[in-house]
Subunit: 451 residues, 2 copies
Amino acid sequence: MSTDTSLPIRTVTDPDIKATYAVDQSVGATAPSQFEVVRARDLEDVVEVLRWAHETRTPVVPQGARSSLTGSSVAIEAGVVLNTEGLDAISTVDPLEALAVVGPGVITKDLKDAAAAAGLFYPPDPASSAFCTIGGNVATNAGGLCCVKYGVTADYVRALQVVLPGGEVIRTGHRTAKGVAGLDLTGLFVGSEGTLGVITEVTTRLVPAPDPALTVLATFGSLEAAGRAIVALRLERHLPSLVELLDRAAVAAVQSLADYGFPQDCEAVLLVQSDRPGHTADDVQRYAAVLAEAGAVDVAVADDAAEADLLLAGRRALSPALEAKGPRYLEDVCVPVGRLTELIRSGQEVAARHGLEIVMAGHAGDGNLHPSIFFDADDASSRARAHQAFTEIITAALRLGGTITGEHGIGTLKAPWLAEELGERELERQRAVKALFDPRGILNPGRVYWS
Amino acid sequence: MSTDTSLPIRTVTDPDIKATYAVDQSVGATAPSQFEVVRARDLEDVVEVLRWAHETRTPVVPQGARSSLTGSSVAIEAGVVLNTEGLDAISTVDPLEALAVVGPGVITKDLKDAAAAAGLFYPPDPASSAFCTIGGNVATNAGGLCCVKYGVTADYVRALQVVLPGGEVIRTGHRTAKGVAGLDLTGLFVGSEGTLGVITEVTTRLVPAPDPALTVLATFGSLEAAGRAIVALRLERHLPSLVELLDRAAVAAVQSLADYGFPQDCEAVLLVQSDRPGHTADDVQRYAAVLAEAGAVDVAVADDAAEADLLLAGRRALSPALEAKGPRYLEDVCVPVGRLTELIRSGQEVAARHGLEIVMAGHAGDGNLHPSIFFDADDASSRARAHQAFTEIITAALRLGGTITGEHGIGTLKAPWLAEELGERELERQRAVKALFDPRGILNPGRVYWS
C-alpha cells in the first residue's frame, strides 16, 4: 500500500471556483473547512480518484450539477468532491434499438433534445431539467413532471457503467430489449445517491415522440375540490402527461417573477396536459370537462403550443420563485393518489398550528407533494417550528401509506427518517449491500444510511 | 440448534402426485431419487420451510407452475420443492393507484383478466400465460409477446414481499407512484430465479386498457426480407404491440395441430399487431404497407378480432406444436434488433453444418429468438451435435452484442455460459450478493451462478 496520500490528479485550486463545488441547493448547505475538488475529464480520472480514495480511506462525494435538494452532493470535511459534469458526451442515439448512451454529465434537457432530434423521447423531466445532469437523475431516481404517464428515471435506465471504490469498472444491465443473464444490479445503483459507486455511463431506453403537449388550466375554490379532480383524471383511459398542482401562494410566487398567465384569485390551480399523438385537442377538451365536473371554478384550455409552453414555463419557474421568497424546508413526500387531499389537509393543519407559511405544490398526479415550509432565518423559534412542521408532514405521509421521499432522495436532510420508513433491520441489510460495493465506506459517508 | 431434521410441515406423500412436482419443462429434466414436496398454503408455510431448511442446510427449490424451460424448478437430490401455486389470491386491483397485489401462484392470464375487468391492463405476456404463474414470471423476468411495445415483467413490478432463508419476511420497493427511500432491492429479486428468496406477494403496476388488437400477417420469400420488415416496423412512430416471426417449419408445426390460418408456402411469417386505442385499423393498414415495402410476398389484414385471435392462438400453439415434434434444445438468445438477421443466418449455417433441423421463431421485435434444435433422442451423435449447435448459437449471439438469455433465464441449462457473458469477476460479485441473502446457499444451489 502506498504511503503517498496526496491526490494523484489535478484539483481545483482557485478558491472561488472551488467554493462553487462545495454546496448543493439544500437548505443550510455550507462548505467544510478543508476539501479537494476533482473535475473528471474521462473515465480514467474517476478510476484514479476512486483507487486513491479507497487506498487512503478518503471520503468521496460524487457530484453533478449540484441541484440536489437534500445535501447529497455537499463536500465532506477532509474529503474529495468528484465532479462528473465533464463526462458529457452523448455517444449514441439509436432509433432502431431505441436507446441512448450518454455520460453522467449530460444535461437532462440536452438528452431530451438529442432524442427529439431523432424523432424519439426521453421522458424523465425533473423541474430542473434545464441544468441538472443525467448522472444525478440516475443517482436519485429523479421523476418530475412527466411521471403520471411516463414513470421515473428507473423506468428508462437499461444499463450502467459504474466505477467502484478501488477503481474497478463494472457494467450492469444490458443493451438488448430483453436480457436476464444473472442478477440485474442496475436498480441498486439507481437511487443510491452516490453511496455505491460513481456512474460514468448511462444507457437509457427511448420511446417514440409524443405530440407537442396542449394544456388545460383549472382554478379551484378549495384544495379539496382540486383533489377530487386529480382522482378523476387518474381514472381517465387516456392518462394526462402532466397533472401539477399549485396553491394560491405558489401561484402568487410564480406570477411575482413574471406574468406566466396564472390566475391569482383562487385556492388552487391544476395544470393538466395531453401529449397523445393526434389527440391532444380531444384530450384537453375531455380533461376540461372532467375538471369542471369535479368542481373547478374556471377552466381554460391553452389554444396553442405557445400558450401551453408559457404555462409550463411558469410551473418550471416555481422553484426559483419559492427560493426567492426566503429560506424554507422543502418537502418531497409521496402518498397514494387517493390520500393526497388528506396529506394537504394535514399540511394546512400543521401550518396553522405552528403559525408558519407552508406553500403547497407538486406532482399531484403521482401523489408527490412538495410543501415549502418557510421560516425566518434570524428567528431561532421560527426555524425550530419549521423543522417540527417538516417532521410532522413526514409523519403524516408515512401514516397515509406514503414515503418520506418521492424523488429528491435522502441525502443528509432525510437520513434521520430512513429507519422509520424501512425499519432498522432493513436498514442493516442495505448497509450490508453498500459494504459489498464500498467496504471501506468512502462514498458519501454519513448520508442516506446515517450510521 | 434443533437436532430434529424432519420437515415441520405437511409434505406430498402420494408418489404419482409427488412425481409431477419433480420436473419442469426443460429438456431432459429427471426426478432425483429422494426429495420432498411442500405445497405452501400461506405465508407461514413458506416461513416455516425456509426457517427449517436454513437451520438444516437443506436445498430448497422454489416452484410455481413448472413451466420453466431451463431446469430452474427441477427438484434437487435430498432437497425440498417449495411450491407456491396455492398462494393464488388477487387481493387488490386498484384503478386509482393503478396497481394490483397478487400472490405468486396467480396464473398470469388470471391477473390479466382481473385487470381487464377493472378497465386496466397487465401487459407481460409469456406464451405460457394461460398456465404460468406471476411468481415464476417475476423470478425469471418473463417477457413474451407484448414486449416490443410494453417491455418485460421488471417494468411492472413495483414492490415485493419475499421470505429469506431463515424465515425473515421482507418487503422491497413501494406502492406509491414514486419512492426513493433507500436502496430498491426489487430489481435484484426480479430475474433471480429463486436463488435469493421466495416471493410471496407481488405488487404490479397496471396501465390503461388498450383496444382489442388487430393483426396483420405477412409472408416472406426469405428470412432476410422478414428481417428488413422487422427493422422498418421498429422505426414506426406507433410501435406495434406484437412482432412475431415463424419460419416455414414453425408454421408447419402449428398448422399440424389445427388450422390456425397460417399460409404454408413461404420461408417466414410475421405476425404484427396494433392495440392502439381508436387506431388499430389505421395501424394495421400502415403496417401492411411497411411489410409490403420491405418485400413481403403476401400481406393479409385480419378483418376482425376473431380472426386476429385465431392467429394469436396459432402463435401460442407453437410451443406445444414444437414440443410434439420431438426432443429439442430450446434457445432464448436476444440480440440488438438490427443484428437479428445475422443471428438467423448464423443459426441456419449451424443447422446446415451439423445436419440438424433448427426451427426459427421468436419475439422478433425485441431481437429475442427461440431456435428449436431438434435431435434424435436415440442417437448419441445427434444429441451431441444438437448440443454443439446450441453452444454455437449462444456464441453467435454474444458476438453480435447480445445475451445468452432474453427471458427464460439461466437455470441449469445456461449456467455453464453465464461467466462467458458476465466475466468471472462479475460472477463473483453476484455470488457475494447471493450470499448476503442466502448465506448457507440453500436456495436453488448449483443453478445460475454454477459454483
